[in-house]
Amino acid sequence: MTIGAAQPNDNVPIVLVIDDCVDVHRLLAARLRNEALELVCETSGEAGIERVHQIEPSLVLLDLDMPGMDGFEVLRRLKDETSTSDVPVIVLSGMQSPSDKVTAFDLGAVDYITKPFDLMELRVRIRSALKMRHLIQMLAQRAQIDGLTGLWNRAHFDERWADETKRAERSGSPLSLAVFDLDHFKQVNDTYGHPAGDTVLQGVARLIQNIARQADIACRYGGEEFAIIMPDTTPEHAINLCERIRVAIIEADWHGKPGQRITISAGVAGSTGQTSIGRAEWIEVADRNLYRSKSEGRNRASMTDVGSKGPRLADAG
């Protein structure tokens, strides 16, 4: 379920130490033994940067004074790279020079800790950096969740669709997109009122979420439109999933609010692995299939395999 993945991560945060001196690793491990965090250590700037990419730590503790690539350069590189620029960095400074601290802040460090470590200072600064990180992530995530349905919103869809199409292109793995639109939703609103309409949107979102799998990205795409990005999913599998959603919705009991059955139409565009279609055009193909489902009588799903030459149309429902 998509929303499960959207909940703030309650796993133990990983803190990466980059310091050429293994004594510092040992001291930090001893000092932070009782903190709710996992410590990972690297002894060089190069290895440290690689580790950041690999484990995506919640916090980096970075020594400034290192042979080879020093802490300033590490900081510069982390901040220059989009994928690592958000990771908070606390600078470990043995040097008393205030100008180093200023430089570190200018480069994007969130705080500094002076060596040798004062136990209390070390703990509160790390806790506060981790807490800040957690809050920022929570806010960022909230900004991408649709308030009414709890699904991902359009902004998140746009971001993830760009990511997933790039990823599929790189890896040659299948990828499918399904778009949905509730049938005659305006009529539901007009007949039973907007509260009933909202109930329908929430109920449909819940059904979509229950049927979608862990890796699927279920979004509220617009007013009564939904979309599911399905990584590693062929169009055939995607349309099966859409079928299950369609059936679940028509079978849903709304307990009189609204007092009628609800149906949904769907359009799928998916690739089995090889495709030259652009990501905007890909959405258009899914949309065209959705309107084809509508024009052929609604309450159905239509699909195009965008991977094969000459789009092949198939129906279900």
Binding site: D23, V24, L27, R31
Partner: protein
């Protein structure tokens, strides 16, 4: 530094964190490894390897205070700074090497 009876120079040097349960294990580790560090410093002196001597002093300066041996960190810092001004001459820093070594000699776990 030394005088006749019960001199500070003869007294054991104990970590400032000797009674900290979080720290005792790694302080012991540091104390056990310390003779090796001193031996490495001595052999850098014998080899007239100013570069290694400076690195070793720098490392000890950084490490010792963390284990609760501030004075050793300071002595190592003095050695490192002296090497910087002595321009690679080992003879010029022998006094600082001996000061550091005798401090290290006094270190005990408890």
């Amino acid at each position: 530094m030394s005088d006749e009876q019960g001199t500070p120079a003869d007294q054991p040097l104990i970590s400032e964190f000797a009674s900290d349960p979080d720290m005792i294990e790694i302080v012991e580790y540091f104390v056990e490894e310390l003779p090796k560090r001193v031996a490495a410093i001595r052999s850098a002196v014998t080899d007239s390897d100013a570069q290694s001597l400076k690195t070793l002093a720098h490392q000890l300066k950084g490490a010792a205070p963390g284990y609760g041996f501030t004075v050793i960190g300071e002595a190592a810092g003095v050695l490192e700074a002296s090497l910087r001004v002595s321009d690679g001459s080992i003879e010029g820093v022998m006094g600082q090497v001996e000061d550091l070594a005798s401090l290290c000699q006094r270190v005990r776990i408890r």
